[in-house]
Amino acid sequence: MTAAQKRRLADAATVAFCWSAAAGTALAILAVMGFLIFRGAGTLGLELFFGQTHWWDAVTGARPVFDGLWSALAGTLILVVLSCLMAVPVGIAGGIYLSVYATERFRSVAGFGVDLMAGIPSIVMGLFGFSMIVVLRHAFFPHAKTCLLLAAVCIALLILPYLVRTTQNALSGLPEQLRLLGPSLGFTPWQNTRHVLLPSAGRGVLSGVILAMGRAAEDTAVILLTGVVAQAFLPRSLWDKFEALPFRIFYLAAEHRSAAELDLAFGTALVLLMLTGALFCLAFLIQRTMEQRWKN
């Protein structure tokens, strides 16, 4: 084979490989979605959400929902919102610090710490939350128990490293000329970050937020040890036990006695997917609105 032929073959092989990898990914996603819809779509309906309770009574909290996923949906939504409220500002600020202000040395040390944190298995984070409660009970608050707030704090810790890293990478990835522009126009480092760098890196930061939200919505191991229960109704306060969609999927699947009950798990999974999809759209809209405001 001549050199030119070899080059052509290598080129064709690379194209074929990349193409099939992309197609395989798309196919896998379609297969999962298709299977979820095939098994779960039939269960979608008011009864899946509210059981025998009238939907209006459930939404207003007049009557508890016994065998619907309403409480789990509310629990997961509150959990995601709470943990993101805690983690997103801190994570983005941390990323900004590492990218704009930190010295080279601190950046590499802290960066290693962030990577280490990202590698912590979620069950360990759950265990951390659980042992925190044990310590609190013995030392300060004898009535402390696992609850929604504790779970949200642990989830926030879990997703924090993703936010830090994606923000830092989005900012560091900006072209050098753009990073020098603000200073050359007499901007302070903060003015440069606020008015030039962050708007330019908005989409990169958004991808980190989406990743973090998805992780917060799906994680089961952390909440398992920090306050989730199978039947809790709507949480009345941050100190209350709560239900969550991923945990509901887990116990529906683990303890099903008939195919119909298993289908409920698929239906719940479909709802979880729609919930995260809706949250992504919300994050996307917020980012777009901010971008428009920045541009004009």
Binding site: T103, E104, Q177, L178, R179, L180, L181, P183, S184, L185, G186, F187, T188, Q191, H195, V196, P199, S200, W294, K295, N296
Partner: protein
Amino acid sequence: MTLPESILEMRDVTVRFDEKIVLDRINLRLGRGELVMVVGPSGSGKTTLLRAVNRLNEEYPGSATHGLVRVRLQDSWLNCYAENFPLTDLRLRVGMVFQHPNVLPFSIRKNLTLPLRVALGMGKREAEQRVRRALEDVWLWDEVKDRLRDSALTLSGGQQQRLCLARVLALDPAILLLDEPTASLDFKATRKIEALFQTLKARYAILAVTHSLSQMRRLADRVLILRGGQLVSQLSREEFQNQASCLEIMEEFF
């Protein structure tokens, strides 16, 4: 030849990046209304020389500058590297245009008003007036006055570079630093920007870097030749206008 009153002076300026000497004992002066061009091969330290004036080298880790850089503003000499000289003020008075058009992905108007409002804390109305004046200064007003809300990225390369220049002029600097400002532009856009600099040099002291010898001959009042971080020669207009001697000198130094 009588030199105009100085507005910028560098004395024995040495710049290091992590112990590597990039600029070696540079001495230069720039007068009011003068356009001085620095030429030299790639890697000779041209960009670093410009950035030593507005202290942009400090945006990189490991940079160290020694020697004296001073600018004359409001009839008093100010040491650029003095502790009490605020960096942001220096950079407002010493404007810089980069090699590639460096517009922000915002509207044309916001590209100009953002620095005015953020760095100068200017009110909305005053900023609008400055925008118009700056755009007129770079002959862009007529081209963009009906589309100030459009993204600056919709402008052509030459227009973008003139917008960048307008953004700097709006801040009312005393000195302009131009880092190969026509390097990424086509022939026509280059000629337009060169003509613009001809008119601007009456009002500003300009220190420019170029690797185009023809541009140097068209624009410069004086030329400094930089090689390996050292200023190796200085040419007056008469010297580099003479084609034969110019070629000879360039052969020697490049």
